[in-house]
């Protein structure tokens, strides 16, 4: 924008100037918009298209001419044994996904709440404790997943096996991550271990914003610590608990790496993102993979609507 234009701006607010400003703004947001449109929005729409076509390795380079097959991919996904619920031993990806993300998120928020309450009171070394509490969240998922696998190693040299055998709780080493049920529980606990710091930070920020007057007034009225928690702290935390719960629920539902690295999606831990990956890159049926991803997206969209409702309520 030239000097002359700037001078004009001070004196009048005519449209050409606004246009210049808008033009500059478009130039500034163009790179971001291009990447977001080209690498997220367009592919997402394209994915809908793929899910209605027969796309495999054979025509991956010429997807445009892939034959239209209607809802065939969706039918194939829904009737797939690894997708649908049969019984609790073969729960299928959809039920596994729901159980996994729901319980992980509950544990994540619960641990986050406890950790936030711990760090909200003054004590020596609080700053250090706060730093340490964030380690699981910032460390690379690959390294923490593999350390946990090594700790849970099926041989006697695994830490968990060694400790449980010393305590005489088990007689022989167990393969925890390859036992149905146990494996699912462990990936849930791993999620909680890794993501509680996120919930902790959100809750802690809110805790520190609570007006001390409320507590002082309650003390004057003779409220106990537990009553103060129940009638002041919890109501004040309601929105942050709700929004961090839904945010984490959405991200956990979308999560691929954590389970993939821990169990490879085996032993009753096959969630929807892993199934999507397997349809696409193992059986090389991209249409079916895209259909599975669309089903995933529909469920996530429901969570998203809930989330936007909670956050917009919070802003009022």
């Amino acid at each position: 924008m030239s000097k002359k234009n700037m001078k004009l701006k001070r004196t009048s607010k005519n449209t050409p100037l606004k246009k210049t400003e808008a033009r500059l703004a478009y130039r500034f947001i163009f790179p971001t918009a291009l990447i977001v449109f080209g690498l997220v929005i367009f592919p997402a729409v394209y994915s809908i298209w793929i899910s209605f076509h027969d796309v495999g390795l054979k025509n991956l380079n010429d997807v445009y001419h892939a034959p239209y097959i209607g809802f065939e991919n969706y039918k194939n996904v829904i009737n797939d044994f690894s997708f649908k619920f049969q019984d609790w031993k073969n729960a299928g990806a959809i039920v596994t996904s729901v159980v996994y993300s729901l319980f992980s998120t509950i544990f994540t928020v619960l641990l986050g709440l406890i950790a936030a309450l711990l760090l909200n009171r003054p004590f020596k070394g609080r700053g250090l404790a706060r730093s340490v509490f964030l380690f699981p969240y910032v460390a690379p998922v690959v390294s923490v997943a593999f350390v946990w696998r090594w700790i849970l190693d099926p041989r006697q040299s695994g830490v968990v096996n060694d400790l449980l055998m010393r305590l005489n709780l088990i007689n022989t080493p167990q393969a925890y991550l390859s036992t149905r049920g146990v494996a699912l529980l462990l990936v849930i606990l791993f999620e909680a271990w890794r993501y509680f710091p996120f919930a902790m930070l959100m809750i802690l920020a809110r805790l520190q914003a609570i007006d001390d007057m409320l507590y002082e007034a309650a003390e004057v009225d003779g409220a106990s610590g537990w009553q103060k928690f129940l009638y002041i702290t919890l109501p004040e935390l309601r929105y942050v608990l709700g929004s961090s719960f839904l945010l984490r629920l959405i991200w956990t539902f979308n999560k691929f790496d954590d389970i993939f690295l821990l169990t490879g999606g085996g032993y009753g831990t096959k969630v929807l993102p892993i199934l999507t990956y397997e349809f696409s890159f193992k059986t090389l049926n991209f249409g079916k993979g895209a259909a599975a991803a669309m089903i995933l997206l529909v469920i996530v969209a429901i969570f998203m609507i809930l989330y936007s409702r909670i956050t917009s309520k919070n802003e009022d």
Binding site: M1, K3, M6, R10, K18, E21, A22, L24, A25, F28, I29, T32, A33, I35, V36, L39, V40, I41, P43, A44, S47, I50, V55, D62, V63, Y64, A129, V132, F133, L134, P136, V138, A139, P140, V141, V142, S143, V144, F146, V147, W148, W150, Q156, S157, Y195, M202, I250, W251, N254, F256, D257, P273, T276, Y277, S280, G289, A290, A293, M294, V300
Partner: protein, 300 residues
């Protein structure tokens, strides 16, 4: 401690211990051990010899710090690990440009959103926010198909192409970065900028000479955050990289861990090398990173 003070100390201790403090300490120890043990185990295992790590029982305290795992990892003769040096270089080659480009693009974008008027601002902001919540796995298939076609048209390979990977990472880092910087720019008083504009500076001048210097802390945290996302990323690298010489560290570690008989001291050495820089960066810039997590609910 002197004997006359000893009683005082015990009295003091007895006075200090209350149920509240007892529960607090127990819970604190539970958290500390639960968080730190895996990191201790990763680092200590990396300094064990193969015999020590493959023993019948775990060695909780390594006898001495042995560098066997690290030596093996960087042994140029070893077919399995010899590319690890190159893998580190690849990770840097991906993470640093991702972080740099994210900073540049998101600064421009955040300035436009907070300081300039234009149509479609809200639409733009909302679609950016939506991406936050998007499943990464959904985008792989169309991206793969799309980029293969584009690659066919413009003559580039989709697989084993680090710039392609950087582009996909930008799609993940930009929404977060834009959100963080927009929030930050809103807190900067605009008086100085307006004075600058009245003095005849262009918006670009104002951005470079006034807004940018005032936002160094936010820009540093955006840089570190994007760096960490790219450094830690697994899924896209796993799909888009095929040959060992092009792997980033996460994929390299995944490959050597999934060996039929993995040498765990080597795996842990590689994990340590990957984790330590991230933890140091985090500790050095903790304040900014935490602010970012809270402000943007940064994706993870």
């Amino acid at each position: 401690m002197k004997s006359d003070k000893k009683k005082n100390f015990i009295d003091h201790l007895a006075g200090w211990i209350s149920w509240r403090r007892f529960i607090f300490s127990i819970v604190m120890i539970f958290f500390m051990v639960g968080i730190l043990f895996p990191f201790y185990w990763m680092i200590s295992s990396s300094f064990k010899s193969f015999a020590e790590i493959g023993g019948r029982e775990p060695a909780y305290f390594p006898e001495q710090l042995r560098l066997e795992g690290y030596q093996e990892l960087f042994d140029p003769e070893n077919v399995y690990y010899r590319d690890f040096g190159q893998n580190i270089v690849n990770s840097i080659k991906v993470s640093v440009p991702t972080a740099l480009i994210t900073v540049i693009f998101s600064t421009l974008g955040a300035y436009a959103i907070t300081r300039l008027q234009f149509k479609g601002k809200n639409l733009f902001l909302n679609s950016i926010l939506l991406i936050y919540l998007f499943p990464g796995v959904l985008l792989i298939i169309p991206l793969f198909a799309m980029l293969s076609r584009l690659g066919g048209m413009f003559g580039f390979e989709v697989q084993d192409n680090l710039p392609v990977l950087i582009a996909t990472y930008l799609a993940q880092t930009l929404p977060v970065a834009l959100y963080m910087l927009t929030n930050y720019f809103k807190t900067i008083p605009t008086e100085i900028e307006q004075a600058g504009l009245i003095d005849g500076c262009t918006h670009t001048d104002v951005l470079l000479k006034i807004t940018l210097p005032l936002s160094i802390p936010a820009i540093v945290s955006v840089f570190i955050y994007s760096f960490m996302i790219a450094w830690n990323e697994f899924l896209y690298a796993f799909i888009f990289l095929n040959s060992r010489t092009q792997f980033t560290i996460p994929i390299a570690i995944n490959t050597i861990f999934n060996d039929p008989s993995p040498r765990l001291n080597v795996v842990m050495a590689a994990s340590t090398i990957m984790t330590i820089p991230v933890l140091i960066l985090y500790l050095a810039l903790q304040k900014y990173i935490e602010r970012g997590i809270v402000a943007g609910g940064v994706k993870g």
